[in-house]
Symmetry: D2
């Protein structure tokens, strides 16, 4: 069974670029964040801003992220971002992102996030919680 | 005669918002920048990244900007940005931006930019230059 | 009586600059935000993150902002940001910012903010409230 | 022999934080970028903006980056960023970053960058080049 993949096309803006005229690397991590919210909306059918309340969580905070920058993305490039959960574990999961420029992968990204609730013992803290099976199931494509 | 107006719809992202859960004000100025590039592409038919070379300029740098924040834009809001030149002067021009949330104007912005070339007397500097009449003409709608 | 002025020196980073090699304009509004928080900490003696709880407000949201860009700030420039309340009104106030590069004003900014509390009639909204006289007094310098 | 370590203390700003009230992850990659420029200035004694011209390179572009987020950094936190080259290879090198909040490591980051020159065969491209031994030597601490 495959994993749901979401796609978003957009244009690289002047605002995304650095003095070298290419996308400044932290912007890619911002794009990955867009991708994860978009993927969750596609899979779960709830608006990103309703995700927490719909599932009784505080959110899906990031615990690890990384990227390989294979080729630059430049001002004016029309790019495609694809995002897909590569693995669900007990209470954490990995999202893989690819940014394509002219059909070729320019950046490969990954995020590890946790399914997090407020800690009942200390409301200033959060803790991970098992991902409901029906949540994970909705990311599978027959 | 009316002035060409460009529109862009997009969704307010988590990345745009501050701890109050609303768009952090500098992001609106980033949106205005998007709007101006989009408007110039619509009017002149050249990609933003080709604007400078197509017209022999270094760019259209900002000399003044401002915004009124009438109501907040929140994570998940689908917004519409409209951008329009309100006045062309000899070598500078004003762009008016409006950000609509649920059909109501939430933010009014304005930018004053100049048509700039490299200073022939000192290549490390730029200077304004008269805007070609046929450039201004393309922003008029019959 | 003069108005308290706060100063912050910092270096223009690669991350602040656009493909023209100069500070991208929304970053200046981010710097102004830094300046306002810094000024309030200097005047009121409370950490920015404690401001809301210390004064029973939700914050000091922005209702208007603007800037004049007189000369560019470039990667590596050591700049000085000065911030000062120019006027307190009943429930709103103006902050003036100046960014100096090599001793000359490169950017003049202004913000209008309101002293805001949660609306008792609708907790999803905020409303302005009179600024306590002893708050305004602490911004005066004998 | 140890590797030169640079330190920078700063305060987490409102502008760095997301609706959860903690630093938005792409900002950490921006901080890492600050750290690398600061480290190179400390080691080589040239301003970041002069690095390219001083060494005949186009820059030190990023080819890989990653971070582990161990605990959040919040608005108002005074943090310390330490940056250090962990390995120089023929034409690439790794920089390790640590962000400490109240003395404990909150984020561990790493960047892999290359020593890059303009490609003589195609000036629109860049290529890696061996790192001069005297450059690497200046990052060593006796």
């Amino acid at each position: 069974m495959a994993s749901l993949l979401s796609r978003r096309q957009f244009t690289i803006e002047w605002s995304h670029c650095d003095p070298a005229g290419i996308v400044f690397n932290p912007r890619f991590f911002e794009f990955f964040d867009w991708g994860t919210w978009m993927l969750f909306e596609a899979a779960l059918g709830v608006k990103p801003s309703d995700l927490a309340s719909a599932f009784g969580i505080v959110g899906i905070p990031l615990v690890d992220a990384g990227a390989r920058f294979l080729s630059p993305a430049r001002f004016g490039d029309v790019v495609e971002l694809t995002s897909q959960v590569s693995e669900f574990r007990r209470s954490s999961f990995d999202v893989e992102h690819r940014l394509l420029v002219r059909g070729a992968v320019a950046v490969e990204g990954r995020e590890t996030r946790v399914w997090a609730v407020r800690d009942p013992a200390d409301s200033s803290k959060i803790k991970s919680q098992p991902i409901p099976p029906d949540v994970a199931a909705r990311f599978r494509v027959q």
